[in-house]
């Protein structure tokens, strides 16, 4: 721990006056601040890699970038000793089951970081049949780090952002820190590997859809808006009419609106230029 971390003057955050000569040795501060400070300065991430992003996570942990500078060097291989789950890579349906289990086993307070495009939203593999579109479909995420993969610098930035987030949390606000509420918190329900992954929180929806399907209604997919065909040249009135047919009302209006605004902007610009010239 660097001496800067221990500078008590920074911890001091009340109106209460301290004599000048004691300021280096005594600090009066709020409980939240002490809690947050100690928690964010010894964040223990779980040693847990999923995919390509994990390689950059290891790169960040090793000597060149070295996130032990932020009190994070103790990567624990067990969820029971870790505070932070860095979801570093593509979350697949097969893997989400163990991930949710691991999350449930982590003691509170716990944080989740979605590292990379895949963990944040599915990334390049989003359309894949075995891919979960982002870990936030199942777990609450504190920080998203974009990139494919995020560079070590980006990950460090994400970790610092997490520390800032912790700094801003208040023990008095149970929305901020639910783990100081009354009673044990609810575990996240474990997904089930059926014919496809089943999120237990969606049971009702699935049942309703199954009923609809039994009644002969389409299931699963909503209709996409119709594809708008672009017509390159408009040679004649007939073609114009054809275009008008494909471009529906709303679209035509939108275009008109854009044209009108553009004209207005152009007019203003001309006026300005004229004023300058004069």
């Amino acid at each position: 721990m660097s001496s800067k971390e221990l500078d008590l003057r920074q911890m001091h955050d009340t109106e209460f006056p301290l004599p000048m000569e004691m300021q280096g040795n005594v600090a009066i501060t709020s409980l939240s601040k002490i809690y947050n400070w100690s928690r964010r300065s010894s964040m223990w991430p779980m040693l847990f890699g999923l995919a390509c992003c994990a390689i950059e996570m290891i790169g960040t942990a090793s000597s060149r970038f070295d996130f032990s500078r932020f009190g994070m060097e103790v990567m624990r291989a067990t969820p029971r000793q870790s505070d932070l789950m860095i979801v570093s890579g593509t979350v697949t349906k097969k893997m989400i089951v163990p991930i949710v289990r691991l999350y449930n086993q982590m003691p509170e307070p716990k944080y989740v970081m979605a590292m990379g495009a895949c963990a944040s939203g599915g990334g390049p593999f989003k359309e894949g049949y075995n891919v979960v579109s982002g870990i936030d479909k199942y777990l609450p995420v504190d920080v998203y780090v974009p990139g494919c993969p995020p560079t070590p610098q980006a990950l460090l930035y994400g970790l610092i952002a997490l520390q800032k987030k912790i700094d801003g949390q208040s023990l008095a606000n149970l929305d901020d820190v639910p783990w100081y509420g009354v009673g044990p918190s609810e575990p996240t329900p474990i997904p089930i590997l059926g014919p496809d992954i089943i999120d237990p929180r969606q049971m009702d929806l699935i049942r309703r859809q199954a009923e609809l399907a039994a009644a002969g209604m389409p299931v699963g997919v909503r209709e996409l808006p119709p594809v708008i065909k672009t017509v390159k040249a408009i040679p004649s009135k007939a073609a114009k009419a054809a275009v008008a047919e494909v471009i529906d009302e709303g679209e035509a209006q939108r275009r008109e609106e854009i044209m009108r605004r553009r004209q207005a902007v152009l007019a203003r610009k001309r006026a300005r230029d004229a004023a300058k010239g004069a």
Binding site: E56, K126, P195, G220
Partner: protein
């Protein structure tokens, strides 16, 4: 009785000779594949085992590199298994195929002849629903047991399905962007069968794992609360385990501390490369190949562009890549090999107990090479660097990096000086140092010598590749056995082991780094000579049309033989999207040997054995 003379089988000739021999020996059961752009022979399913026996024993094609399925739905309406077999002494492939009905696909299993077909047949069963009669352990391998349907079939649509081929109409020409969640009623990437009955829901995914042949544990008995006295112990390692190098799972059956059975369970990182790849355009797939073996992305690029270039060569207007681009490709491939071996040796030492220090040392050296990749390709890891007909960018004039990576400021280097310093000074010095600290170390020897032995015969039979195969004493390296690019003119040796134990694999990797450095030293003058020459041939096209046909491009990637089987089919003028895009992943097939190597060893050794295979899950599960 055949009425013409069967010649003695050609054990050295070309694939054409071999095909002629097979046609003569099995009249009616073997015929040429006459589709334009296709090679090899088509074997009648009923005769497959006999023909394969002849291919292996009489013709000498004893190394089955790849076995994969293709679904010709709407284009002939049959399924096909495609096999690529090689001679371990070198030379080209014998490509043989079996066709079967789409509705009830059944093909005899080749596991008894080529044990290396084991996982690949299971994969074809999982993703295509082909039944392999006689397979000892036929069950799903990448998806879980109970998953609905066989997703690689052409008529199977994923939940976020939008169109058969990219670019999707909604994106181009329409130009509006939507989130795929918005069109799915569940708001996530799921689809359920129409007659889905929630009341009968059961998670059967683990049951199948435990009832496997090699584990042989009576699952009923294990879960029976009245019967707790049992001598076997089943231990799960992974998918979350620090020593499985990712999300790999092993189910171990133990007797005391000795392993009596091991069942690898994978698919935890199955992210559907192949399905996505068949929707993508050819060009789209290059960045996806980066994410296969994500430690050696340049090598993956190389294999894929070679496969597609083979297809392009079938067309009328094709020019081979320029000399300079080939030199740059090989430069990248060899640097990648060093990157990968530094990484894998570091982690192997981790696995045998030298916790993190050697790995950190190796990683610091690796960072330096990554700096070079970043300056050239724009990315440290996912380089996306090679293109059909060359590479996309020449080496930069200057490079920004640091001298010691720790507390130095960023410096500006001349690229060639930077490279030559790295190749001639830094890396040799580092390797020498590493060697001195580790190779003779007593603990290392104690943990590795004589452990996890794989015999040469087994390694060949199980289609092992790369350092795993060479560690067992088989000098098979695609760069020499079936040369590509400019490797024939380069001077290098193939390091091999003697006993096929963990130490030999470690040593092979160390020596391979030295050989790579030797190659790199020969490349430097070539780079100087070709300075300013073209790095790309042909016109740049967003979506080139690729002539119809099939191609199998393979390179010697750091982890072993990486092959891409690409089929262009469906449009006589050429296609924009591959009909089939298959990756022969060395990590995946090398795992076939994990079980046999581990049985009889202790639990602590299985970690080291896995580390010595050097798998990467992006490639294993794809």
């Amino acid at each position: 009785m055949v009425d013409y003379e069967v010649q003695a089988p050609p054990t050295t000739g070309s694939a054409q000779d071999a095909a002629a021999y097979l046609k003569a020996k099995f009249p009616g059961a073997v015929s040429d594949d006459t589709r334009p752009g296709f090679q090899g022979v088509i074997v009648e399913a009923g005769k497959l085992t006999e023909v394969a026996q002849a291919i292996r024993d009489e013709l000498g094609y004893n190394y089955l590199s790849s076995a994969t399925a293709v679904d010709y739905h709407g284009a002939g309406d049959h399924m096909e298994m495609v096999y690529h077999a090689y001679r371990i002494s070198g030379g080209g492939a014998l490509n043989f195929k079996v066709q079967t009905d789409r509705e009830k696909p059944v093909i005899p299993s080749l596991v008894s002849l080529y044990p290396g077909a084991d996982f690949q047949e299971r994969e074809a069963y999982d993703l295509y629903g082909i039944h392999f009669s006689g397979h000892p352990n036929l069950k799903r391998i990448l998806m879980w047991e109970g998953f609905e349907g066989h997703p690689m079939r052409k008529d199977w649509k994923e939940a976020y399905y939008e169109g058969e081929a990219k670019p999707f109409d909604s994106r181009w020409p329409s130009g509006w962007v939507h989130r795929a969640e918005e069109k799915n009623i569940y708001g996530s990437n799921v689809r359920y069968p129409a007659d889905f009955d929630l009341s009968k829901l059961a998670d059967r995914s683990d049951e199948a794992v435990y009832s496997s042949a090699s584990i042989g544990v009576d699952y009923q008995r294990m879960t029976d609360p009245d019967d707790i006295r049992t001598d076997q112990l089943v231990v799960n390692m992974g998918p979350h385990h620090p020593s499985t190098h990712g999300v790999f799972r092993m189910v171990l059956k133990l007797d005391g501390e000795t392993i009596t059975g091991l069942e690898p369970v994978m698919g935890y990182l199955h992210r559907n490369h192949e399905k996505i790849g068949e929707r993508n355009t050819y060009l789209h797939n290059i960045p996806f190949t980066d994410r296969l073996d994500y430690i050696s992305s340049m090598g993956n690029n190389f294999g894929y562009v070679m496969a597609v270039e083979q297809l392009m060569a079938l067309g009328a207007r094709y020019t081979a890549p320029t000399y300079r681009s080939e030199v740059i490709r090989v430069l990248m491939a060899e640097l990648t090999r060093i990157v990968n071996h530094l990484w894998s040796i570091g982690f192997f030492l981790n696995d045998i107990g030298a916790f993190f220090t050697p790995m950190l040392y190796a990683n610091a050296e690796r960072e330096k090479i990554l700096d070079f990749f970043e300056a050239t390709a724009g990315s440290r890891l996912m380089c996306n660097y090679m293109r059909f007909g060359g590479v996309f960018k020449d080496l930069p004039e200057r490079i920004r990096s640091t001298a010691n990576l720790m507390n130095d400021k960023i410096r500006d280097y001349n690229t060639m000086e930077f490279l030559s310093d790295m190749i001639n000074e830094r890396l040799p010095r580092f390797l020498e140092e590493y060697d001195r600290y580790l190779t003779g170390n007593e603990i290392l020897l104690e943990r590795t010598v004589g452990q996890g032995v794989l015999s040469a015969q087994d390694a060949i039979a199980m289609s092992c590749a790369g350092p795993l195969l060479r560690g067992s004493g088989v000098a098979y390296d695609v760069r020499r056995a079936d040369p590509y690019s400019i490797y024939p003119e380069l001077d290098f040796d193939i390091p091999v082991g003697k006993q096929g134990d963990l130490f030999d694999r470690y040593k092979v990797r160390m020596d391979e780094m030295h050989e790579s450095l030797r190659i790199l030293r020969q490349l430097l003058p070539r780079l100087e000579q070709t300075k300013g020459e073209d790095i790309m041939v042909g016109t740049k096209a967003y979506s080139p049309r690729i002539p119809q046909g099939e191609a199998y491009g393979r390179v010697e990637n750091p982890k072993g033989e990486l092959g891409f089987y690409v089929v262009s089919w469906g449009d006589a003028k050429g296609t924009q999207n591959p009909w089939r895009y298959h990756v022969r992943a060395p990590s995946f097939i090398n795992l076939t040997a994990l079980g046999p190597m581990s049985v009889g060893q202790k639990v602590a050794d299985v970690v080291a054995i896995l580390g010595s295979i050097d798998i990467v899950l992006g490639e294993t599960d794809r």
